[in-house]
């Protein structure tokens, strides 16, 4: 009888099951072996699979992400942990120039996963709270997922490891131990590229992902009390985007709020707004609005972080504005 496990445990379970299933799957990263990773995601896997499949690396994000690509060409399926996703910037060149283009320019398969703790609301300051997804959105060849539930964390990780291309797997550290779920029995795989309706509604659609899914749900709850029916779409995959699901919710409610934790300018909401405009213009009863972080580096002190990041009250206010439109 399956019991609840956390988002973090769900990721570990996926890694464990995939390593069990496929001997080509192995892990690389800083302090992921004996220590089990900064957040203990890989805890226990060294003991179970040994040093050749759980490799502690030097502090060299470009080094081991590049090495993952080389191993992937040869049929291995590496999963790289970035101690914090903020350090993915050190592998930006390798990922966008080498990895993303390998199949296209050289017909080299590059099945690999790059994962790491992401996001804010944890007083991590400017270098331990980042949401870098938008920086990779215009890099054809990469896939990007960012789950909000334990079930999706597990199912998407399994899909990512089995995917024949490179998947950037963002894990929200605020959710690591705060959200729990009961894993579906059997080989639970969540397809990449499919969004999820987190809450059905008829008046306004909130399209979001990761930690802000919960801000949206809280807001929806409050608004329901006031008779406003909010639909919450959890994208889960950011590249490719689930255009069908996006268009369906827009054409259902005619009012759209885009919500994310990344900065307003240059965040993924821009791409969403453009797509909605291109495909659902006539269905819109109000402008597509965005609630996002202010355009500043994320500061560390609680009052500052709370001020910069989107809060439930902001979502409520924005939804009311859309309704009043």
């Amino acid at each position: 009888m399956a019991s609840e496990i956390t988002y973090l445990e769900a990721i570990r379970e996926a890694l464990d099951e995939e390593m069990q299933r496929d001997p080509n799957v192995f892990l690389m990263g800083e302090d992921i072996g004996a220590y089990g990773g900064a957040f203990k995601v890989t805890d226990g896997l060294l003991a179970k699979y040994g040093e050749s499949r759980v490799i502690d690396t030097p502090i060299s994000e470009a080094g081991f992400v590049g090495a993952a690509a080389g191993a992937a060409h040869m049929g291995m399926r590496p999963v790289c942990e970035l101690q914090f996703i903020d350090f993915i910037s050190c592998a930006y060149d390798i990922l966008t120039n080498y990895v993303a283009t390998a199949r296209y320019r050289a017909f080299l398969p590059c099945p690999m996963v790059v994962r790491g703790p992401s996001g804010g609301y944890v007083r991590g300051g400017p270098f331990h709270s980042q949401n870098p997804e938008a920086a990779f959105l215009h890099t054809p060849g990469l896939k990007i997922v960012y789950p909000s539930t334990a079930e999706d964390a597990k199912g998407l990780m399994k899909a990512a490891i089995r995917d024949d291309d490179c998947v950037l797997f963002f894990e929200h550290k605020y959710l690591y131990r705060r959200v729990k779920g009961v894993m579906p029995a059997g080989d639970h795989v969540v397809p990449i590229g499919k969004a999820r309706i987190a809450r059905a509604g008829t008046d306004v659609s909130i399209i979001t992902y990761a930690a802000t899914v919960y801000k949206a749900l809280e807001a929806a709850e409050q608004l329901a009390a006031e008779g406003v029916s909010v639909e919450v779409l959890d994208l889960r995959s950011l590249l490719p985007l689930d255009d069908e699901a996006i268009q369906a919710t827009v054409k259902k409610t005619h009012r759209v709020l885009l919500l994310h934790e990344d900065t307003r300018t240059g965040g993924i909401a821009g791409e969403l707004s453009a797509r909605i405009n291109e495909t659902c213009f006539a269905w819109l009863d109000a402008p597509v609005l965005r609630v996002a972080a202010a355009d500043v580096p994320l500061p560390y002190a609680p009052p500052l972080e709370d001020y910069v990041l989107p809060q439930t009250a902001d979502v409520v206010k924005a939804v009311k504005h859309l309704i009043a439109w």
Partner: protein
């Protein structure tokens, strides 16, 4: 070419316990003979070195207490057992010289004029802290006093400080730059690119590798296939030096040699200070990965403050009472700073929008905050509605 190819072979690895310098268990540490610079130190200066080391330890112990009371926001990083390398190296600088600390170089910052009050406020994320609550722990700086705040991304400070040193060279200012990296940070591309850039341009830079045996949980042997980090100097065509990082006078001598060589146009030096990280990476780290006995051995046999006290009282005839007086003065100072820091206010939310750019000075507040609605006022559609084409 004329001569047959010569084979140069990399350093051999001598057997050793992870992270512990070879032979460290073989003999008890011995102080390095006094060098040119430490010989010239006055009694007052030797006591000053002691006070900075003591201040470092006392302040960190206070931070631990505050951390346990959850008054510290975020992680707490200790330099227990590394006070000598931080203090002795920074002490080798002149007032106009500039350093960039690592997470374990609070002692270096104190030498350069950072105050306990500033550090306490930083750790407590106070609004009147040096970064106004924007950055964590000792991530702050002051060009006037001569220290540049680090960022988390390891290695990045090496190219940055190489650039600071370049500006001194371009302007013929007789100033020197000191940048600290850990054993782990030497594996980063930024360390390599920055140090090579500095070496080629012969800027007045001293790069200190604090070899404390570990990078988080990673022992040296998983970081580097060689034996000594000072051997990396050969890759940049610069001198590489190694010193006992727990002998504050040896640290001072080795660093000052490099600093004064840099000041006189001798370019870059890589200085490895061999020490040991006795606490976890941060307070939350239980150090389960440390081989048994290692921590205890270092605590018992190679504590930099114990070693220096021993030396002061014997070799330099300092009376224990003098040291006790210093300790008391420091304890009082830290108490006072703690009370004041606790009274400090937290920052105000809207301050988060200030100072991203020189121009504009403030970023716009989101329209759904504080009744800002400009961006989405209900649009009044102009007369031309429906007709295509403009006014």
């Amino acid at each position: 070419m004329a001569k047959p190819p010569k084979r140069t072979t990399g350093p051999r690895r001598s057997a050793r316990t992870d992270g512990v310098p070879p032979g460290i268990f073989a003999r008890l540490p011995q102080n390095t003979p006094l060098g040119r610079w430490s010989k010239a130190l006055t009694d007052a200066q030797r006591l000053e070195l002691y006070s900075w080391m003591r201040m470092t330890r006392t302040l960190e112990e206070r931070l631990v207490a505050l951390y346990k009371q959850t008054k510290v926001v975020g992680g707490l990083f200790r330099s227990l057992g590394q006070e000598a390398d931080a203090v002795g190296s920074a002490y080798a600088l002149r007032p106009r010289d500039i350093l960039s600390p690592l997470i374990r170089n609070m002692g270096s910052m104190l030498v350069k004029g950072a105050t306990p009050l500033e550090i306490l406020r930083q750790y407590m994320a106070k609004g009147d802290s040096p970064t106004r609550g924007r950055e964590l722990n000792i991530h702050f700086g002051d060009l006037e006093r001569g220290f540049v705040g680090q960022i988390s991304h390891l290695g990045d400070m090496v190219p940055v400080m190489a650039g600071v040193a370049l500006s001194f060279k371009l302007r013929n200012e007789p100033r020197v730059v000191l940048v600290y990296v850990g054993d782990g940070a030497t594996s980063t591309g930024a360390f390599h690119e920055g140090l090579n850039f500095a070496a080629v341009n012969q800027v007045p830079l001293v790069c200190i590798v604090e070899n404390n045996g570990y990078a988080y949980s990673t022992p040296n042997r998983k970081q580097f296939a060689g034996e000594w980090f000072s051997d990396k100097a050969a890759a940049y065509g610069i001198p590489g030096v190694r010193a006992d990082g727990n002998d504050v006078l040896a640290v001072y001598d080795a660093t000052k040699d490099a600093v004064e060589r840099a000041r006189s146009g001798g370019g870059v030096t890589l200085v490895e200070l061999v020490t040991y990280r006795r606490k976890g990476h941060a307070e939350h780290d239980n150090q389960s990965y440390i081989p048994p006995g290692e921590l205890e051995w270092w605590a018992a046999n190679n504590d930099p403050i114990d070693r220096y006290v021993e030396r002061l009282t014997t070799e330099f005839k300092v009376r224990p009472a003098e040291l006790a007086a210093i300790d008391a003065r420091i304890a009082a100072a830290v108490d006072a700073a703690t009370d004041e820091a606790e009274r400090s206010p937290m920052p105000e939310g809207p301050d988060a929008l200030v100072g991203v750019y020189a121009d504009p000075p403030v970023m716009p507040a989101e329209w759904y905050r504080e009744g800002v609605t400009k961006a989405v006022d209900r649009h009044e559609r102009p007369a031309s509605w429906g007709t295509s084409g403009g006014e």
